[in-house]
Symmetry: C2
Subunit: 252 residues, 2 copies
C-alpha cells in the first residue's frame, strides 16, 4: 500500500503581499513526513471566497488529506470556515460545545458576534482542540482546518496528529559535498538514481554564511535497505572526486 498524500493550503493575503514569512509549511511538512504522509503540493491563496471554495474542492479531491492554515479568527477577513462549509455544501452553524467553551472565556456582554463566529462550524465538522486560545479548528471529511498563528496551529496539529494514523515514514539521508559543484556530481548522481528507482535523489547547492559552497545530496524513500545502499554510493561518489563526504543534518 502506498503512503497517503497531502496538500497544504495557506490562506492569507499577508503571505502573498510579502508582509509575513510563512512559518507553517515547513513544520507541517516535517511532521507529516514523520507520520509517513507525503506533502505533494502547497498553495498560498488570498482571502477571496470563490478562490477558497474552488481550491478546497480541487485539493480535497486530489489528495488523501488537505491541511489549511489561516482565516479562522473573528474578523471580516476570516472566511475560511464559512467557505469550507460552502465547499462541502453544508450549513455553517453554531457548534454548541464550542460556543459554550468560548463563552466561558469572556465577561458578560463581551462574547460578541465576532467572537461567536469562531464557534460557528460547518455542520458535521469535528472540532480540533486549541489548547492556546480555545477557538477550535476542525476536521470535515479529509480537510483539516487550522489557525494561521504558528503557536496555535502547532497546538492544533498536536491534537490532530493521533487521528491521522502512522505509515511507513519517509526516511531521508543527506550528505554534503563541500566545495564540490553540481556539475561534477551530476553524472554520478544520475547513475545512483537509476540504480535505486524506488528512491528520490536530489541535489541542492548551498552557500554557508562564511561563503563556503557545496552541494547537499539527498536520498528519500521508505525502503531502508535501498536508502542505505544509496547512502554508500553517494559517499563513494564524493570520495572518488577526491573530497570528504560530510553527513547532513538528521532527517526530519
Amino acid at each position: 500500500m502506498s503512503n497517503p498524500t497531502a496538500a497544504i493550503l495557506v490562506i492569507g493575503n499577508e503571505i502573498l503581499s510579502g508582509r509575513t514569512q510563512d512559518a507553517n509549511v515547513q513544520f507541517l511538512a516535517q511532521r507529516l513526513g514523520a507520520l509517513g504522509i507525503a506533502v505533494r503540493e502547497v498553495r498560498v491563496i488570498p482571502d477571496v471566497a470563490e478562490t477558497i471554495v474552488g481550491t478546497v474542492n480541487e485539493l480535497r479531491a486530489r489528495f488523501d488529506h488537505l491541511f489549511t492554515t489561516g482565516g479562522i479568527g473573528p474578523t471580516h477577513d476570516d472566511i475560511t470556515s464559512a467557505c469550507v462549509a460552502d465547499a462541502f455544501g453544508v450549513p455553517w452553524e453554531p457548534h454548541a460545545d464550542s460556543m459554550q467553551a468560548l463563552a466561558r472565556l469572556f465577561p458578560d456582554g463581551q462574547f460578541n458576534a465576532a467572537r461567536q463566529r469562531m464557534a460557528t462550524l460547518p455542520r458535521g465538522a469535528i472540532p480540533i482542540p486549541n489548547s492556546v486560545s480555545v477557538a477550535p479548528g476542525f476536521t470535515i471529511g479529509n480537510v483539516h482546518v487550522m489557525a494561521g498563528v504558528p503557536r496555535i496551529m502547532r497546538a492544533m496539529f498536536d491534537a490532530l496528529e493521533p487521528e491521522l494514523g502512522r505509515f511507513e515514514p519517509v526516511r531521508m539521508v543527506a550528505v554534503h559535498a563541500d566545495r564540490l559543484g553540481e556539475g561534477s556530481l551530476a553524472a554520478g548522481l544520475e547513475a545512483i538514481q537509476h540504480a535505486h528507482p524506488t528512491l528520490d535523489l536530489g541535489s541542492y547547492p548551498y552557500e554557508r554564511p562564511d561563503g563556503r559552497r557545496g552541494v547537499a545530496l539527498v536520498a528519500k524513500g521508505t525502503d531502508a535497505t535501498a536508502l542505505a545502499s544509496a547512502h554508500d554510493s553517494i559517499r563513494t561518489l564524493i570520495e572518488d572526486l577526491g573530497h570528504v563526504p560530510v553527513e547532513g543534518e538528521p532527517a526530519p
Copy 2:
C-alpha cells in the same frame, strides 16, 4: 487600468519534504508589490515533469506573469527548463551565447554534458543574466524561470526587474493594536472596510518573543487618499478602545 497580476511557482521536493525553508516567496512578493504587480497565488510542486508542465500552463494562462524558482541546475532532477519548453510546445535546444559564456568558466574537458544542460533553453527564450554563477534563467512569453538558490534568484530578479515595468504600487499601512484582541476590533474594522471598498483590510494577531500579544491591522491598496483615511480610522478605532496605536513597520 488595473495592476498586473502574478503567480509564483516554487519547484522542488526539498520544500515539500520540509528539509528546506523557502526563502524566495517573501522576497519576490515584496519586490513585485513595489512595482505594482500583485502576487495572487503561490504554488509549491515536486520535480515531476507532468506536474510542472501542467502547472506552468495553468498559471501562465491565469496570471499576467508567472515566476518560477528552482530546478534549473545541471543534475537529473533539474527538469524545469525542459518542462517549460514542453509547456510552450517548442524544442529545448542549446542556446549559443549562453553555451559560450558557460564554456569559458571551465577548464578543457570539464564543460561536461551536465553543465551544458544549463545553457540549453526553450527555443525563443530570452536569457536572464546571472551575475553570480553565469548559468542563466530565462523569460519565455509571460513566464520567468529563475534559480532556486536565493542569492542567484535575487541576482536574476535584479536583472529582470527593468523588463517588468512599473505600475501604481500597492501601498500598505500597518498599525499595531498592542494588547488588544481581534474580537474587540472586528466590528469596527469591518465598518472601516465597508467605508473603503477599494482597499483590502486585514487583521493579523501576533505574539512578540516576550509574550506580548496584539493585532496588526493592515490596509492595502493603490489609492493613497483612501489609504490615509483608513489609516486615521484604524488609529481612532484603537484609541476609542482605550489603547495607543503603534505604527507598524514601513510597508514593503
